[in-house]
């Protein structure tokens, strides 16, 4: 039951290796969380899976085929969409344009328009703001746009880099509720989080990364409660 | 004696011997070529102080050369000052100009600084074209004051002076360490207690004073100056390119590049009277070096040496990140 996997993945910047031989797997209909302190390499790992960062060694496998040499574009077409840290809203583009760039890989104009309309149906709050510039939106609205961008291509897997970062607590709750719904709709979610407490509520599987290495893994059956997890966290 | 001081003495002695041998063996035409070599060594090394060690690529250093040349020429012809005093004043004028524009211009980062300094040099060029005192586009003719030999010696002395300064105060001095620190990371250097603004400005002024002096001597040597000849790209560009080709932020890089490139220039000129072909070489070499050896020839050689030394058998202090 692992549809998206990183196998013994090594990557980094310049000559510095940030992720050293990490293997993780994520499945459809599940939320897989990667926790870890700052600089542990979790964002870099996510980027490598997304194709925004070259994989030095090891492999990225999706539906039993290696995608390590695929550019981001092909991974999106294959059904893997990514939201970077801080969301993916372009400040100088309108909401409409932001959604369209989210659907950049859709070449057919009619289909693109249709997808944008679907996103507006899903998030009526955005429909009213379609001409507003990204920078004029509130934090919550920006998050909606980011999720909208993510869903434009109707992906199977969503890769999220700290979706709750910098958001007001009430918005965080909405975001996680949204993620829960997406999970229940059968999407696979692989996310990096600092907000362990909220993420734990929806997690089906947990990894902890420290200094580029995997130090802890809890599969679906034995997800610990927050207290136990914190204890583990402190030890590593 | 410290090793750096010993090396400096040895090198200076060697340079002095070469200079004297050339002086007594070369005919006057070739002596003038070598005078030009000294001039370019001095200019490239001066540019290296701000462009190489400090990391601020000045694209307007001809402004300082030109103001030195014009100050000297005007003081000699109009005010009748003795030549040495006029040259010194030319150096001061260049320093003052650098001090005036340095403060605001050095706040610009990267290519913006390059554009800003370039604009200054172009302003000076236009001013020299417009003003009466500079003779406009007709330029200024100076009396022939000394023999070629005197200018040969003067240029050598100036080139050596810049070399000495670079070696003693920058390559092996605390001033240079501060400059290199601020080049690598200005914020971090500030944290270390280095007054980066002050150090940058100092470096800029020093790197301007030398070209000012050289420009003054040049005016007396060539006896005729006009705006394009002293403020134009034929002075401005080679300084930058020589230093980058040879290795910005090294002592020997600019020296070697200046010797080789200026001789190349003269060979092209003497044999084919093609000094424009020189630009092709300069430009092409710059592109190749930037692409394949961005630290310049000497810089790349040094890195290669260091690499080789590191990969010698004793791997116990190998600091490869695990």
């Amino acid at each position: 039951m692992s549809d998206l996997q990183a196998k013994d993945l090594h990557t980094g910047y310049g000559r510095v290796e940030i992720v050293s031989g990490v293997s993780i797997s994520a499945a459809l209909g599940q939320v897989t969380c990667i926790f870890g302190p700052n600089g542990s390499g979790k964002s870099t790992l996510l980027k490598a899976v997304a194709g925004a960062q070259p994989t030095w060694r090891g492999d990225v496998v999706y539906r039993d085929t290696s995608i390590r040499d695929q550019p981001t574009e092909e991974r999106i077409l294959g059904g893997i969409a990514t939201m970077p840290q801080g969301g993916s809203v372009f400040a100088d583009l309108s909401v409409d344009e932001n959604l369209r760039i989210g659907g950049h890989t859709i070449r057919d104009r009619t289909q693109l328009r249709q997808r944008v309309a679907e996103i507006y149906d899903r998030f009526p709050a955005l429909a009213k703001k379609r001409r507003a510039r990204g920078s004029d939106l509130s934090g919550g609205q920006q998050m909606l746009v980011s999720v909208g961008q993510l869903l434009m291509t109707d992906p199977q897997f969503l890769l999220l880099d700290e979706p709750s970062a910098g958001l007001a607590p009430s918005v965080v709750k909405e975001v996680f509720q949204m993620l829960r719904e997406l999970k229940e709709a059968g999407k696979g979610i692989l996310m990096v989080e600092q907000n362990v407490r909220d993420a734990l509520q929806i997690a089906d599987q947990i990894y902890i990364l420290v200094q580029g290495k995997l130090v802890y893994h809890a599969p679906r059956a034995d997800i610990p409660d927050l207290k136990t997890l914190m204890k583990v966290y402190m030890q590593v | 004696m410290k090793r750096a001081t010993r090396d400096l003495c040895l090198f200076s002695l060697a340079a002095l011997i070469i200079m004297l041998v050339l002086l007594f063996t070369l005919d006057s035409a070739n002596l003038r070529v070598v005078t030009g070599v000294y001039m370019w060594i001095g200019l490239a090394l001066s540019w290296n102080i701000i462009g190489g060690y400090t990391g601020y690529l000045s694209f307007g250093h001809a402004a300082f050369f030109g103001i030195g040349a014009y100050t000297t020429a005007i003081l000699v012809t109009v005010a009748g000052w003795p030549f040495p005093l006029a040259v010194l004043t030319g150096g001061v004028a260049a320093g003052v100009l650098a001090a005036l524009i340095g403060g605001p211009t050095l706040r610009l980062a990267g290519a913006y600084f390059a554009i800003g300094t370039w604009a200054v040099a172009l302003c000076m060029l236009q001013l020299a074209n417009i003003l009466d005192i500079t003779g406009g586009a007709y330029g200024i003719s100076l009396p022939s004051l000394y023999s070629d030999t005197v200018f040969y010696l003067l240029m050598f002395a100036l080139a050596w002076l810049v070399f000495f300064f670079t070696w003693h105060y920058i390559e092996h001095g605390s001033f240079g360490r501060k400059l290199e620190a601020l080049r690598e990371n200005e914020l971090a250097a500030e944290m270390l207690g280095i007054n980066t603004n002050r150090q940058k400005l100092l470096a800029f002024i020093v790197s301007a004073v030398f070209p000012g002096l050289i420009g003054g001597v040049y005016a007396g040597w060539i006896v005729f100056i006009e705006p394009n000849a002293v403020f134009g790209s034929n002075i401005n560009d080679p300084m930058i390119l020589m230093t980058i080709l040879g290795g910005a932020g090294t002592v020997m890089g600019p020296v070697i590049a200046a010797v080789v490139l200026y001789l190349l220039n003269r060979i092209l000129w003497i044999n084919w009277s093609a000094d424009t072909a020189y630009l092709i070489f300069l430009g092409f070499l710059t592109c190749v070096v930037v692409l394949y050896a961005p630290n310049g020839l000497v810089g790349t050689f040094k890195a290669w040496l260091a690499n080789r030394r590191r990969s010698l058998p004793d791997t116990q202090d190998d600091e490869e990140a695990s």
């Binding site: 981001t72 | 390059a114 980058i244 710059t286």
Partner: protein, 291 residues
């Protein structure tokens, strides 16, 4: 009053040509972050392309605008991989190295042109060259009118591309945040290559127009490099709409200085204002560029 109006028109007309150069220049800066020192040499070489085609084929140089565009798109596409290589480099001063690279390139091109064609000025005539239109006492050389309208046409085309096409949207996205754009599946490398090629093509065409209006000489490049810098800095580097204002402003400054102060001062004032704008408003007069 007539003189004022005439000066105004002169300024606006030449501003239209500057527009062609700097639209591309600023676009390329926005997407690549690269300040191309060789911009003036593309103008110069474009001018010579028009000149030699006109010289050997005898047709009106304006007819060669499309050919020149294609030639320089190809040239740009050939130069881009080298810039890309530098941009992917590991040293910290990457952008500065690209700047130095384009400086070397400009030296190479200028030296090559000087060696091949010497210092002489060369003129080429178009059908519109010796004609003019008079309107309400204002005298407009037809060639300048044609060049101006061509500039406007190019501007409209570029604006349409930027704001109405899928490619244009990806260009704007890359200019704003390359990392995000890549995660959206935009092939940022291809976008950058196309933008650089487009910029080279536009600049080459501007060279033909400038060559017809004035003359061509291998030394003309530097002037247009500084004009491009001036307009781009005034507009705010990377901020494309600001170019409209800045290009006209440069044309007007030149025209007015030439008439009311003396053409000798024209360049001095341009250079001086470039310097002052850099110091005072590095993000451009509209404060929308990248500092």
């Amino acid at each position: 009053m007539d003189l004022l109006l005439q000066t105004l028109v002169n300024g606006i007309l030449i501003g239209g040509v500057y527009l062609i150069i700097t639209l591309g220049f600023n676009l390329a800066f926005g997407v690549l972050g690269v300040i191309d020192f060789a911009v003036g040499e593309w103008v110069m070489l474009g001018g010579f392309t028009g000149y030699w085609l006109n010289h050997y084929l005898g047709l009106d140089p304006l007819l060669f605008l499309p050919v020149t565009f294609v030639v320089f798109v190809i040239v740009g596409a050939l130069v881009y991989p080298m810039l890309a290589r530098l941009l992917k480099g590991r040293q910290h001063a990457r952008l500065l190295m690209v700047f130095v690279f384009t400086f070397g390139l400009s030296t190479l091109l200028k030296g090559g042109a000087l060696t091949a064609w010497g210092f002489n000025q060369r003129a080429m005539d178009s059908f519109f060259s010796a004609r003019s239109v008079e309107l309400a006492g204002v005298y407009m050389p037809q060639i300048r009118l044609v060049a101006f309208f061509f500039g406007v046409l190019i501007t409209v085309a570029v604006a349409w591309m930027l704001y109405r096409t899928r490619f244009g949207l990806s260009v704007r996205a890359v200019a704003q945040d390359e990392g995000k754009a890549r995660l959206m599946g935009v092939n940022t490398n291809r976008v950058a290559a196309l933008v650089y090629a487009l910029y080279a093509g536009l600049t080459g065409m501007a060279g033909v127009l400038i060559g017809v209006i004035y003359t061509v000489t291998p030394q003309m490049g530097v002037q247009y490099t500084i004009f491009a810098f001036f307009i781009a800095v005034l507009a705010g580097l990377g901020y494309v709409p600001g170019v409209l204002l800045a290009a006209l402003l440069l044309g007007l400054i030149q025209a007015f200085v030439a008439v009311y102060i003396g053409s000798a001062y024209s360049l001095l004032i341009v250079f001086l204002s470039l310097y002052l704008i850099l110091l005072v408003a590095p993000r451009g007069i509209l404060n929308r560029g990248r500092a």
